[in-house]
Symmetry: C2
Subunit: 95 residues, 2 copies
């Protein structure tokens, strides 16, 4: 395998790991959105913020290690942040 | 460059990034240890805990991406955790 094929594989793996972690946070956001009408767990926001912070550190590391393009890393994070903002807005309306 | 030389370079880069981040947390611990006698910043523990969490996510990602051996990742984290424990013990003695 050539170095470039090898790097391609590593890039794919890194992206798929990050996407998997992003999906988990996405799922947390969805669950809380579905539960808006019934109950609000006060710890949810804190858990989500912590998860987002940890995830942003993963993305940052992947970018610095040269595994993921900076623009792609930013895109993954921005998408999550937008969904999180929608959730927080919905939570504030409920309050 | 062969795939194995290439991987070697990537491993070195990943390790050096992680070590740099570990050094920053180490520095935070040292600064607080030096300030024990004079003042205690109440936010220091929270900042350190957050930094440690973010760092553990970086290490975990590097291990999952196959850039760093699990044992080495654990060792870097354990060393920081031991130093942090020494700091917290010292902080509790002062209280």
């Amino acid at each position: 395998m050539s170095s470039s094929e090898f790097m391609e594989q590593l890039n794919q793996k890194a992206l798929s790991l990050l996407q998997g972690d992003a999906d988990k946070i996405e799922k947390l956001i969805e669950v809380q959105m579905e539960n808006l009408a019934t109950r609000k767990c006060p710890l949810y926001e804190e858990v989500l913020d912590t998860q987002m912070y940890g995830f942003s550190r993963e993305v940052d590391f992947a970018v610095r290690a040269g595994l993921v393009h900076e623009a792609i890393g930013k895109e993954i994070l921005s998408k999550l942040e937008r969904n999180l903002a929608v959730l927080y807005e919905a939570l504030n309306v409920k309050e």
